[in-house]
Amino acid sequence: MKRKKTIFKKNDNLLGYMLLAPWLLGFLVMWFIPMMVSVYYSFTDFNMLKTPSFVGISNYVRAFTKDDTFKQALKVTFKYVLLVVPLRLAFALFVANLLNKKHIALGLYRTLYYVPSIIGGSVAVSIVWKQVFGNSGVVMSLLSLFGYEQKTSLLGNPKTALFIIVLMGVWQFGSSMLIFLSALKQIPTSLYEAAHVDGAGKLKIFWKITIPMLTPTIFFNLILQIINGFRMFTESYVITEGGPVNSTLSYVYYMYQRAFNYFDMGYSCALAWILVAIIAVFTVVLFQTQKFWVYYAGEE
């Protein structure tokens, strides 16, 4: 009995830090130091060649007052996140709910719907998207089959291009669907039986039992997906190169352009911290709203 206590209760700092060392080293070298460096550069004018000169907060001021492309990138990214996250989660929930019944071949459907999620981030899929929705692509050829000859493709039109990229995000709803599916399976059947006995209809049961029981999962996914959405890059870069007329220029892509096309390193670092601030605000606000809509079972 005595021994039992010693193995977990006693501090073992040496072993703890030995095990943590590889990660810790990486954290310091690849995160902490770059973070500090980046904060410093964000207050400087730096182009890799000359030594950085301190300019105070003027990089931050520049972004909000002088830089229209920054505003455009911000607008595009907000639009993207606000469209793709709710749509993807809603669709994932809808399909998960349909698959949460007894049918044959469910495993097959689940697998099929999940495939886009695992390949979605690749350059190959972005290439496919470009060809499917671009000039002389699948959509245009289908439209002309029905007699609608189009001059510009959906990707060539600044009004629709971003929606095609949103569509690609929604197409990858599979992983959220799997998470919802497993959360659905954990809802105790007794709840449904009780509601059924009380004469509640299907829709009512869905809104009053399924949704509240899923709110912790929805909440968690919402946060992860928002962070994910803000870092959209490959789609913007490979499919449209941010165009037409910057209508699909994502925030991260603009950061990249500033840093590596214009060697505007200081400014790019400032942009990075503005992004971190935006994500932090989203996360904090969401956490604050939690008590109004997220229901944790076992907590009264």
Binding site: I7, L15, L19, L112, P116, S268
Partner: protein
């Protein structure tokens, strides 16, 4: 009773029709890519939507794709990708495993603080760190080396640490106790007792690491400049530049090749992936 039964049957048929239609839409882009990689360049963009190959040019497309670009054969890009992915995956999983074991089973000063650091790195997009990382690597003359592509992955494992900690938590501590009484050291407990038990989680983490590194575009795009050191995503990106390359057959063929390992791994390890997502509740 029979009314009910027919109704249920109709519902079931409707469900399967809907599910199949959605399945087709989901998989169509992939099918289209594979079929297009079989079509000749001449017929590729007439009736683009069609999944019928009218003029097959399979050998031609794949041979021309493997010839590569800028005088570098595609197999070179594949080799680069394999090197980066294999070492990166092993490194990511190993450092995460050690850290997760420390966080969940060893009591040490500051463990709470460091764990919150892990969570914070999960919240901050890696893209934010890329410019300063680039500057530091440049100063160390490590830009445009395999090192720059591989080593960051060793430490980018916040997600895996979190996942493995969740798994370790689910293993009864009596297992450790028993081994300890039998004379195992804490390291032996990890490798002989716990690793076999958390094997599904380790495989799960390894597959996700493999996917992310194999498909990663952002980091190599910034860190690499010599074409012969490019990974597959960078090579494919070069293929899409119409001023240097306009062989769509080759482009599509190599796109298929780039997705093949991902899909093969998916088929083999499907069970681990789907169960893993169900367990940790987060995705990659």
């Amino acid at each position: 009773m029979t009314m009910n039964k027919t109704k249920r049957q109709i519902n079931s048929i409707l469900f399967h029709i809907g599910a199949c239609a959605l399945g087709f839409l989901m998989i169509y882009p992939l099918l289209w890519l594979v079929v297009s990689s079989f079509k000749s360049n001449r017929t590729m963009f007439t009736n683009t939507y069609s999944l019928v190959v009218e003029e097959p040019a399979i050998l031609e497309n794949y041979m021309s794709g493997f010839e590569g670009i800028a005088g570098i054969p595609f197999s070179r890009f594949m080799l680069n990708s394999v090197i980066v992915t294999v070492i990166g995956t092993v490194g990511a999983v190993f450092t995460s495993l050690l850290a997760a074991y420390a966080f969940s089973r060893i009591k040490f000063k500051g463990s709470g603080f460091w764990f919150s650091c892990v969570m914070i790195t999960m919240m901050i997009p890696a893209q934010v760190m890329v410019v300063p990382q680039y500057i530091i690597l440049k100063k160390l003359s490590l830009i445009d080396t395999y090192f720059a592509m591989i080593v960051p992955w060793f430490f980018g494992g916040a997600f895996f640490i979190f996942l493995l900690v969740q798994f370790f938590k689910g293993i009864p501590r009596e297992l450790d106790e028993a081994a300890y009484i039998d004379g195992c050291s804490k390291l032996q407990i990890l490798f002989y007792i716990l690793v076999p038990v958390v094997k599904p989680a380790i495989i799960n983490a390894a597959i996700f690491a493999f996917y992310w590194i194999w498909q990663d575009f952002f980091q190599p795009l910034i860190f690499m400049s010599t074409t012969s050191k490019f990974t597959i995503p960078l090579a494919l990106n070069m293929f899409t530049d119409p001023t240097t390359y306009n062989n769509y057959g080759g482009l599509f063929a190599m796109s298929v090749v780039s997705l093949l390992p991902v899909l093969i791994f998916f088929i083999i390890f499907q069970r681990y992936l789907v169960d893993g997502i169900a367990m940790d509740g987060i995705k990659g």
